[in-house]
């Protein structure tokens, strides 16, 4: 494998025992360091696609490889992959810092020298003052930041985000988009970002694919050429509106 096909999916299909075809022959190649958007109506299998990439669900046909190693066959894939869920999924009995360090605890004994890295990751999402707070003391946006920090703390090569900002208000969502993009611009991990918000995909990603529902397959692909670093002013540009419109039109075709 080369950096050009860091993630390689060939003819990936998933049929549930109920007969529902969640994924139907998905071919997707993602180079290392790409920020890929996946948009589609609800129920089109976007979340399922992410879970297949993560190795949480095995496809019924086709092949998925991350960094050349088949997912699911090798546990090693897990080392490199982090997942950000639709809900923050924080453990309510743990403080912010203990939630963030959880993946490190699970992967092996927590070494003292990891402390600094954990604190740094919490700093990165702007929550240093809240490191000893409990989830219920935080707003929805802050909880999502903790969730993001928990994913980043493992220094993932591949970050899978399943509509992470879907439940937030628009302003908070835009701010978190900007913060996430700044983190990506810094570390250039590979990211798969599932959303049904077209503007979010156009702002964040370098390329966005549109998925159709039942059976879930990729119907169109849009390259987002805007240079980095991208700031909030991008959203006001004519090119941005034009590209968002194109993706939205493609999305409308699959919904209709």
């Amino acid at each position: 494998m080369s950096d050009e096909n860091y993630l390689q999916m060939d003819g990936v299909s998933l049929r549930f025992p109920t007969g529902v075809v969640a994924l139907d022959g998905v071919d997707l190649t993602v180079p290392r360091g790409e920020f890929l958007g996946i948009v589609g109506p609800s129920g089109c299998g976007k979340s399922t696609l992410l879970r297949v990439v993560a190795g949480l669900i095995a496809p019924t046909a086709g092949r998925v490889a991350v960094a050349g190693a088949e997912v699911g066959a090798a546990r090693r894939a897990r080392r490199a992959v982090a997942f950000v869920f639709q809900s923050a999924t924080l453990l309510p009995w743990r403080t912010v810092v203990r939630n963030v360090q959880l993946p490190l605890e699970l992967r092996g004994r927590l070494a003292p020298e990891q402390r600094a890295h954990i604190d740094e990751t919490i700093d990165l999402v702007g929550l240093s003052y809240f490191r000893n707070s409990y989830p219920h003391q935080l707003s929805g946006g802050m909880q999502m930041r903790v969730s993001l920090a928990r994913a980043l703390v493992t220094r993932p090569e591949l970050l899978l985000l399943d509509e992470p900002f879907g439940a937030l208000d628009d302003i908070t969502r835009q701010r978190l988009n900007e913060e996430l993009l700044a983190l990506w611009e810094r570390d250039r991990f590979t990211a798969l970002f599932v959303t049904h918000n077209v503007a979010e995909a156009a702002f964040l990603t370098g390329r966005t694919v549109v998925m159709s529902p039942r059976p879930g397959r990729i119907v169109s692909e849009h390259v987002i050429p805007f240079a980095h670093p991208r700031g909030p002013e991008l959203r006001a540009s004519a090119e941005f509106a034009h590209l968002s419109g194109e993706i939205a039109a493609s999305l409308r075709r699959v919904v209709a």
Binding site: W93, Y134, H136
Partner: protein, 259 residues
């Protein structure tokens, strides 16, 4: 006034008012309808009977209270162990759950004499009856807490290669704490009922008597005012144990910081 004291007083006031109203209505009804004292005594007669037998009722409270506490503790330990077993395997849970329901549906009045036949006329039998009656809420609640987990949290653990032990200690056990506390609250009240039922059958032939036997004795002697006093005492005992368990539960929950 201190705001915490104030909110406590505000919380206590309505039930206290209800109690006073109830006692007044009770007294008035007995007088108005000319109810015989051996059917329903006047509240003051109950108080008088309680004062006359305060040592007997006091030691009864202590005996029944300790039996209920031991029964509750037993059901707590056994219930958590059974729930843990259930959480480890679907097969175990499916095969044994119907028999766990037995503890909920068994007519304890019918089974109590059998238990006494097996274990003798002593505290041990009373504790066993109390434990049987109070076991079920602990089993069901704790099983739910150990098995009904946030799907995404389970995926998070899986994704990070968590072992079974890690999942148990870092996800399932902490997740079950609020469920266990809810079960313990229900179960604490039941343990007193169980102890009193046990004493109905096994409470005699000893130097000191529990409330269950005192209720049985006073009712057969038609000392209804004394019987009322014992019933009030056992109700207070139930409230006391329920209150103590709730208090400990709230303290634990506060540390656990549920939403």
């Amino acid at each position: 006034m201190n705001p915490r004291l104030r909110s406590f007083a505000l919380a206590m006031l309505p039930p206290l008012a209800t109690f006073i109203l109830f006692v007044v209505l009770w007294d008035a009804s007995v007088v108005y309808f000319e109810v015989e004292p051996f059917q329903v005594p006047r509240p003051m007669a109950v108080v008088r009977a309680a004062m006359e037998r305060k040592e007997q009722i006091g030691s009864g409270l202590f005996l029944t209270g300790s039996a209920a506490a031991m029964g509750f503790a037993t059901s707590l330990v056994v219930g958590v162990l059974v729930a843990f077993l259930f959480s480890q395997s679907r097969v175990i849970q499916r095969s044994l759950y119907p028999y766990a329901i037995f503890f909920q549906t068994v007519p304890i009045i019918a089974v109590a004499p059998l238990i006494i036949n097996w274990f003798g006329h002593d505290t041990r039998s009373i504790v066993i009856v109390s434990a049987i009656v109070s076991l079920f809420p602990i089993i069901t609640n704790t099983t739910t807490g150990l098995t009904e987990l946030d799907r995404n949290a389970v995926e998070l653990f899986e994704l990070n290669g968590a072992t079974r032990i890690q999942k148990l200690f870092k996800l399932q056990l902490p997740n079950s704490v609020p469920y266990l506390i809810a079960g313990a609250r229900t179960s604490s009240g039941l343990s007193v009922i169980g102890a009193i039922i046990g004493e109905f059958f096994a409470g005699f032939g000893q130097e000191k008597y529990g409330l269950g036997f005192l209720i049985f004795q006073t009712s057969s002697q038609l000392k209804i005012d004394a019987m009322f006093a014992c019933i009030v005492a056992s109700t207070l005992l139930g409230l006391l144990i329920f209150g103590a368990v709730s208090l400990v539960g709230s303290a634990v929950l506060l540390r656990w910081r549920s939403n």
